[in-house]
């Protein structure tokens, strides 16, 4: 039992008694004191995890479910809209939060000859600026969308032509149902206006590899659905 501590060069013995620990039992590899220390730590860790992990999951839960249901919202009759002018319509994205849940959509008739309009009957442009999310307004005289906060400017198609925004204005799906123009899910577009992307937040670039650096989130619906 009273063996010397092993020299540093040699491998440490697996047995506590060989390591010169006082009062170690023959054949034990962990002292009782160390064993109880580890037990206390483990019990404390399990107890903390038992309330901590559910609480954490509770806090981050909304990150993994759809925030907004895919609902088509009527905004007027097809005769209200032309191909040359945007008409603002207010739709409710989130119920029960008053004006904070409403957003303005700029609508016009789609140009059937333009391949960049996603084969939809109407073009519905979101007024959410793609810099940091202020509401843009459409100025008919200059045919521009202009953001009041930091000077973002978009052309008639919603493509950035000035200021800090990082991508064209978001759009909404449109359809005509029973003679009513309806607005559906939001989708994001790149500068090329070639594809519907799942909606990204303002400030998220979408061209090229940026699509992967700003990934789509589980909270947003697939625009094609």
């Amino acid at each position: 039992m009273a063996t010397k501590p092993t020299p540093k060069s040699k491998k440490r013995s697996a047995y506590a008694s060989d390591r010169g620990i006082p009062a170690a039992y023959e054949g034990e590899t962990v002292t009782r004191r160390r064993f109880m220390e580890l037990n206390a730590l483990a019990v404390g860790g399990i107890a903390s995890a038992a309330f901590g992990l559910p609480a954490l999951g509770f806090a981050v839960g909304p990150m993994f479910s759809k925030t907004v249901q895919s609902v088509w919202k009527g905004v007027g009759s097809p005769a209200d809209f032309t191909a040359e002018e945007y008409i603002p319509k207010v739709i409710t994205l989130v119920d029960d939060v008053g004006t904070a849940g409403k957003t303005t959509v700029y609508l016009r008739r789609a140009n059937p000859d333009d391949p960049d309009e996603f084969a939809q009957p109407f073009v519905a442009i979101s007024n959410r600026c793609m810099h940091v999310g202020c509401p843009v307004r459409y100025v008919q005289a200059s045919q521009r969308f202009i953001c009041p906060c930091h000077g973002g400017i978009y052309d008639f198609q919603g493509v950035v032509i000035g200021g800090p925004p990082v991508r064209p204005l978001d759009r909404f799906r449109t359809r005509v149902n029973n003679g009513v123009v309806e607005v559906g899910n939001r989708f994001s577009v790149t500068d090329a206006l070639d594809e519907m992307y799942r909606p990204r937040d303002p400030s998220n670039q979408l061209n090229g590899l940026w699509e992967y650096l700003y990934p789509a989130r589980p909270t947003t619906p697939n625009p094609r659905s």
Partner: protein, 299 residues
């Protein structure tokens, strides 16, 4: 009449005077060193003149006993907690020569935080973090509640004061070189406290739920979203989803009044512990002079 005070610990019991300073058999040391005979009916300690009666003496006696009450309470607490060495060490610790008013900025910041905590706790008695009620409840506080405008004003302007003070405190620490070894950890804690204080300002901005607060929050969350890879998820976490919902407001309320204040209070405790343990630094313009004096002393 004897008030039922607990017995004094030995350290606080009246001590006999030094030889020659006072006659023995003196009463309790209440500072004036006057001989006081407390037996009723004999003398009131006024040169042996006959007293007008027992009432005067009783009053003197009561005064003596009343003065003992705080000592008795302190002694009772100290005997059971043993905190007097700690409190004495904290209150009478040595500070370097040249300590000046700039050294009070940290305490000032802490008092600003305490003021925010107290006013915030009472604002929470009237505030309702529901999207349909938040603005109304703030209007109610401002316009109807007694002193509501004042308490809300203290909370609102106190936030600005706290941010200004924390930066001044940081500047003092930086320019006095008080962040150097062995106080780097305290600097790091202080920087975390700065970030948390700014996060308090950000999360509190939404709570009145007016146009300014709402759009400021939209912008702030989208700035968070601009971080590659994690940004969109952080933004979803803050909003509780992809859009601003009722969850967002209650979430910001919880962050503003529970999570961050708890963290700040805990970190202030750590910050103060390190200040007490490591002491404060002398102003930089006294360093050389002081080092010389120390050397002479050592020789």
């Amino acid at each position: 009449m004897k008030l039922p005070t607990p017995p004094l610990p030995r350290a606080l019991k009246p001590k006999p005077g030094r030889p020659g300073s006072r006659p023995p058999g003196n009463g309790h040391a209440n500072g004036d060193g006057k001989v006081q005979d407390l037996r009723p009916g004999t003398s009131d300690g006024n040169g042996g003149r006959p007293s007008k009666g027992g009432s005067r003496i009783d009053r003197e006696q009561l005064k003596e006993q009343a003065l003992e009450v705080p000592i008795g309470v302190a002694g009772w607490l100290d005997e059971r907690s043993g905190m007097s060495p700690f409190v004495r060490g904290l209150a009478y610790r040595k500070v370097p020569r040249g300590t000046n008013w700039w050294y009070t900025l940290g305490s000032a910041t802490m008092f600003a935080f305490v003021a925010q905590a107290v006013t915030g706790v009472f604002l929470a008695m009237y505030y309702n973090p529901a999207p349909s009620e938040a603005y109304e409840s703030i209007s109610h506080i401002t316009n109807d509640v007694f002193l509501g405008e004042f308490v809300r004003g203290m909370h609102k302007w106190g936030a600005t004061v706290m941010v200004i003070l924390i930066f001044l405190h940081m500047a003092r620490t930086f320019f006095f070189g008080a962040y150097k070894y062995p106080r780097e950890l305290n600097w790091v804690i202080g920087v975390v406290l700065l970030v948390l204080t700014l996060a308090m300002g950000l999360s509190g901005y939404l709570l009145p739920f007016d146009q300014r607060g709402f759009w400021a929050t939209v912008v702030a969350v989208n700035i968070n979203a601009s971080a590659p890879v994690m940004g969109p998820y952080i933004a979803d976490f803050l909003r509780g989803g992809s859009e601003f919902t009722a969850t967002t407001l209650s979430r910001f309320y919880s962050i503003h009044m529970l999570i961050i204040p708890g963290l700040i209070a805990a970190l202030i405790g750590a910050h103060l512990y390190l200040v007490a343990k490591l002491g404060t630094t002398a102003p930089p313009w006294l360093k050389a002079e002081k080092a010389k004096a120390l050397n002479q002393e050592e020789l």
